[in-house]
Amino acid sequence: MELAKTPGAKRNPNAKVSRLRKDIVMNKYVYLMALPVIAYFLIFHYAPIGGLVIAFQNFSAFKGIGGSDWVGLQHFQDFLTSPYAFRVIRNTLMINVYQIIFGFPAPILLALLLNEIRVQLFKRAIQTISYMPHFISLVVICGMLVDFTQSEGVINDIIVFFGGERANLLMDTDLFRTIFVSSGIWQEVGWGSIIYLAALSTLDPHLYEASSIDGAGRFRQLVHITFPALVPTILILLIMRMGHIMSEGFEKIILLYNPLTYETADVISSYVYRRGIQEANYSFGAAVGLFNSSINFIILLAVNYLSRKYAKESLW
């Protein structure tokens, strides 16, 4: 009941605290609901961020974070001067840049083509089929890739039919990225097109009517009405994609790569997994992981800033 007296004390430095207390009492069930949610985020998202301090230690599970020795930037130095640093950074960037160049525009193109289809049944059938690969598990997709690309597999059968020679395609360092990126496009292009089709579904049909009266053909409508309607979505998705430029697809890498293809397939996260988890070099793994996520975060901030400045679209 003490609370009832405080509302007048606006200039009091404690005013904010007392207002908050009142807010909590008034919304006690809302805050009660928030408790487990906040606890979840603190424990499973923020505690691991705090746990990154082991990147600056020689962490030992027996001594714990409090008792382990501090080594400063030693692990970062070790990583960056190791012969693997260049390889994994290059592979990470190349695979992601390929994914962005070829994989990012694919769903936009598909949405534009689907949008031109007037026969609803046909359109819906193609859409349903194109979503299907998205729902197949990564393990199964990779299992199918392994099976189809092995030297007795169906892809080699086709290559031989056209006069080529049999080879295990996944063991070929020159082909790994191509297989990785193209199978990714196959799996996600249909699903990725939904968001663009959703954006197009909110488009005012009068725009088309008006332009049609003005004599614009369908191609000009595509260029001047349909595509511009997608630009905000494209920009936001591109920023978000850049926010994962160093981390996309590492589970699939781990399923598909092997020591023979490390040269083109090993990325930073798969390297962290091998050194950190499999070889239990926790501190070194955490350092390489932190290096990765920091660069990634800086790229995100930069892209978001540029987009806000030049295109007036940003995540925040």
Partner: protein, 296 residues
């Protein structure tokens, strides 16, 4: 509306239909190939080369072996457990979080939104998460596959957007009738946002069904393995030089020839349930991806 089609437009239309038809076939064929192969007679399939236009002969021997394999059965039951228990807890937690973040006059809302959205772009990464699971005593328990992923930030934001679209009047009249926030969430908001909830349930359930990585790093006990981890051993590990024990034990007593169809049968058994469910939620998908939901 009636539009005149020029010759160029008619040509484009035809080309577009043909292209999309081919595209549909490309999406569909790999799964059809697996289905046809799984139904083929092993000896005929081994001799076949090239595209499969249908099963080669007909045999269910692969399915018999797969469905009698105790490991697959355990994996299937484990996966069902992770999907059902995991998804129920996911939706419960996500709905509560979304309800909190969709309130209009909450002093701590902004810091909470920032705290949640930040996790989409930065995190501790693999190693600290792994050590946390060990530290919490979740290592090698079923909970390790459920608790760390209780709330997917993306789904939380989608659900919050759905909740914010509920007219205020509904909640206010309930409040006047004396309903508390729990009643409002479970009796009013969730029923009127059924479409959003359906999409979120599907996303979480498919996520659990398809997950394998956390199981690989957090589980030692094979009795707890989900189906996908066993699939990895059967489909991938033996061809990339990993653990072959599993695939060998599958073949006990059968000719090695059966192995050529077993792979395909396991894929079908593990994938068909999901492929039957998603078309029914399809009309709701657009709700799950609206642009407005993405900006913090």
């Amino acid at each position: 509306m009636k539009r005149k089609f020029s010759l160029g437009e008619a040509a484009f239309d035809t080309a577009n239909h043909v292209f999309l038809l081919l595209f549909g076939l490309v999406c569909l064929y790999p799964m059809l190939h697996v289905l046809f192969a799984s139904l083929s007679a092993p000896s005929r399939l081994a001799q076949h080369s090239g595209i499969l236009w249908g099963p080669q002969g007909f045999s269910l021997v692969g399915y018999e072996v797969v469905l009698q394999n105790p490991n697959i059965l355990t994996g299937y039951l484990n996966t069902l457990f992770y999907v059902v228990v995991g998804t129920v807890l996911n939706v419960l937690m996500t709905a509560m979080g979304a309800y909190v973040l969709s309130r209009k006059n909450l002093m701590l809302k902004k810091p909470m939104v920032i705290m949640v959205v930040f996790t989409m772009y930065f995190g501790g990464g693999l190693i600290p998460n792994f050590l946390l699971i060990k530290e919490l005593g979740l290592y090698d328990t079923r909970l390790a596959l459920i608790v760390p992923g209780l709330i997917a930030t993306w789904n939380l934001i989608v659900m919050r957007t759905g909740f914010m679209a509920v007219p205020d009047g509904l909640e206010e009249s309930a409040k006047i009738d004396g309903a508390n926030d729990f009643t409002i969430l479970f009796r009013i908001i969730l029923p009127v946002t059924k479409a959003t909830v359906a999409v979120i349930v599907l996303f979480y359930a498919v996520g659990h069904w398809n997950a394998w990585f956390n199981a690989m790093i957090y589980l030692r006990d094979r009795e707890l393995y989900p189906l996908q981890l066993l699939l990895r051993e059967i489909l991938i590990a033996n061809s990339t030089g990993g653990n072959t024990i599993e695939s060998v034990s599958l073949m006990e007593g059968d000719q090695a020839l059966v192995y050529v169809v077993i792979k395909y049968c396991t894929i079908i058994v593990a994938t068909v349930p999901i492929l039957f469910i998603y078309p029914f939620c399809q009309k709701y998908f657009m709700k799950g991806v609206m642009l407005g939901s993405m900006k913090g």
